[in-house]
């Protein structure tokens, strides 16, 4: 009897160990699948031609598989979203964390959660119907869909991540710091920007990195407003294709087993590497905060 309960406990321990390791297993599975299915096309096309080739024409008589346009579009698009989204998000976060009256804070935070909960296709839909025609009329160009529209949609989509994480970081700043600054005769505004913000800088930096991750990984909303032509992103009105949308848009009609489809997996692999890099950066900032 005693022996039996003991071995039962061992079995249960084993089951939980397996459950615990599932996340690790999933990460490994995803990495292995992406590498195995992404590598062949890169090797076949040649790593330099693949990454730095500026023309993507998989169905031409002499197909070309250069993904530089996608890489650059993803980088420009993300950078643009950060340039617009971070100042708005950051200033909103400081206001919410430090200055807003309780009720205003509660309402705006609810609004931010709402913004975070809206599905990306809804952003895409409103972008298609409101933003794209708006850009067309405002700038007098034949088609409003393109890099600029994507940047604006992404900037709005990353706002909640930036605001939420920055607010958390700013709220964690010990009140003693701020009291000391106020006691020296600094105004509340000076205190928040010269004492609280520097004290919360790793958290705020992490929020920006999180925003970068969101922006670079977004597919559907961008697919609906960016025009989706594999051009080099020469102007902000150019119709462009991101890494994410390159994968999504051709998956349906590429032939399984073909170089074309394998090249799509390679694009996903490149995207995955970008994301892993961003995750590592994010971890770096968060760890910095914890050890302090």
């Amino acid at each position: 009897m005693k022996h039996k309960t003991k071995s039962l406990e061992h079995i249960i321990h084993g089951i939980f160990l397996i459950l615990g390791l599932i996340t690790v297993g999933c990460v490994l599975l995803i990495s292995v699948y992406l590498i195995l299915s992404g590598l062949p096309a890169i090797l076949e096309v040649g790593i330099a031609d693949f990454l730095f080739g500026s023309s993507w024409e998989p169905s031409a008589a002499e197909p070309e598989y250069g993904i530089l346009p996608f890489i650059l579009t993803s980088i420009y698009g993300t950078a643009g979203a950060i340039i617009i989204g971070v100042p708005i998000g950051f200033l909103t976060a400081v206001y919410l964390a430090k200055m807003a009256p309780k009720k205003v804070k509660a309402v705006i935070q609810q609004a931010v959660s709402m913004l975070a909960g809206i599905p990306s296709v809804v952003y895409g839909l409103v972008g298609m119907i409101v933003l794209v025609p708006g850009i067309r009329k405002l700038f007098g160009i034949p088609d409003g869909s393109g890099l600029l529209a994507a940047i604006i949609v992404l900037a709005i989509m990353i706002l909640p991540s930036i605001i939420k994480m920055s607010v958390t970081a700013l709220e964690a700043v010990p009140k003693e710091f701020e009291d000391a600054s106020l006691a020296l005769g600094a105004t509340p505004e000076e205190t928040y920007f010269r004492v609280s913000v520097p004290a919360a800088k790793s958290g705020i930096a992490a929020s920006v990195v999180l925003g970068v991750g969101r922006a670079i990984g977004e597919a559907m909303a961008v697919m609906m407003v960016a025009g989706n032509v594999p051009n080099m992103p020469d102007s902000i009105f150019q119709s462009v294709r991101f890494l994410t949308t390159a994968v999504a848009s051709e998956m349906a009609y590429s032939v399984p087993g073909s170089l074309h489809r394998n090249a799509l997996f390679s694009i996903a692999l490149v995207l995955f590497l970008f994301i892993m890099l961003i995750n590592a950066t994010l971890n770096f900032f968060l760890k910095g905060d914890r050890t302090k």
Partner: protein, 280 residues
């Protein structure tokens, strides 16, 4: 106060006011616009019928059913896995290093974009079992595993150590302690995790396009799982982008918006309840 300091003060105030105003106005506009464009297009016929090319009718009943099925199937699978992983981390794991690795893996999973999940889900699940709701649900299980695990873990940490000691002191075995004293205490966390996951599943499209597919036929639960089918969100994309049916798209968008609002509301209600209980 010097002029320079005054300028700084006002610049900062105006900046914060503008930024917050933009955030609030954007939310208000998005929600308002979608609801105003969407509600007039919602009709009983839309909600209760399947689409038909012959009678040129559009109905989203299959999409509603598919959404419900995929939510149920995902939760049924992900809850035991996520809760189990959390129990391992807080109750069993002795090695700090292993805990670190598992938590790092969970963080990595939550950073992976949905399009990559869609792709890998297609390779692992759909290529083996066919494009189906179940393949979609399995993909969503991996995506939502960190959410369930994290939330459960957080609430397991709030179960007082004294409960465990008390139960061990009476000679209860580890599994009994977990089952009777620890698990009931983490129910809040599991529920919060589920609500957040439901929100994510409702909003998901990129991970489902190539795993669950986009058919619009109504089935029962078990038949449905083996068939290709689109959720509301995927249907929105298809109607807007591929078919130009913006009325239907906005109708679906307004439904999703209301659901997202309800999910936010219940999540914040639960966390308030939780805070109150912990304070008491």
């Amino acid at each position: 106060m010097s002029t320079k300091r005054k300028i700084f003060r006002w610049a900062v105030r105006i900046g914060m006011g503008l930024a917050t105003g933009i955030t609030a106005a954007l939310t208000l506009f998005l929600v308002g616009y979608v609801l105003i464009k969407g509600f007039p297009n919602i009709s009983w016929e839309l909600l209760s019928t399947s689409p038909s090319y012959i009678s040129e009718r559009i109905g989203i009943l299959p999409d509603i059913l598919n959404t419900v099925y995929i939510v149920i199937a995902t939760l049924i699978i992900v809850i035991p896995l996520g809760v189990g992983a959390a129990i391992y981390l807080t109750e069993y794991a002795a090695s700090k290093k292993l805990v670190g690795i598992i938590e790092y893996a969970a963080e990595a999973l939550s950073g992976i974009p949905s399009i990559i999940y869609g792709l890998v889900g297609m390779l692992i699940f759909s290529n083996n079992m066919g494009t189906s709701l179940l393949a979609g649900a399995l993909t969503l299980v991996i995506m939502n595993l960190p959410t369930i695990m994290r939330n459960t873990q957080e609430s397991l940490k709030t179960v007082p150590q004294s409960y465990r000691e008390g139960a061990f002191g009476l000679g209860a075995g580890k599994w009994r302690v977990i089952r009777t004293v620890v698990l009931p205490g983490c129910l809040d966390g599991v529920i919060t995790g589920c609500i957040l996951s439901v929100g994510r599943i409702l909003g998901e499209s990129a991970a489902l396009l190539y795993t669950a597919g986009f058919a619009h036929v109504a089935y029962g639960f078990f038949d449905g799982l083996t068939q290709s089918g689109s959720t509301l969100t995927v249907a929105l994309y298809v109607y807007a982008k591929e078919r130009g049916e913006f009325g239907v798209a906005f109708a679906i968008a307004s439904i999703l918006m209301v659901l997202a609002f309800l999910i936010n509301l219940s999540a914040s209600m639960i966390s308030k309840h939780h805070q109150r209980r912990n304070a008491a």
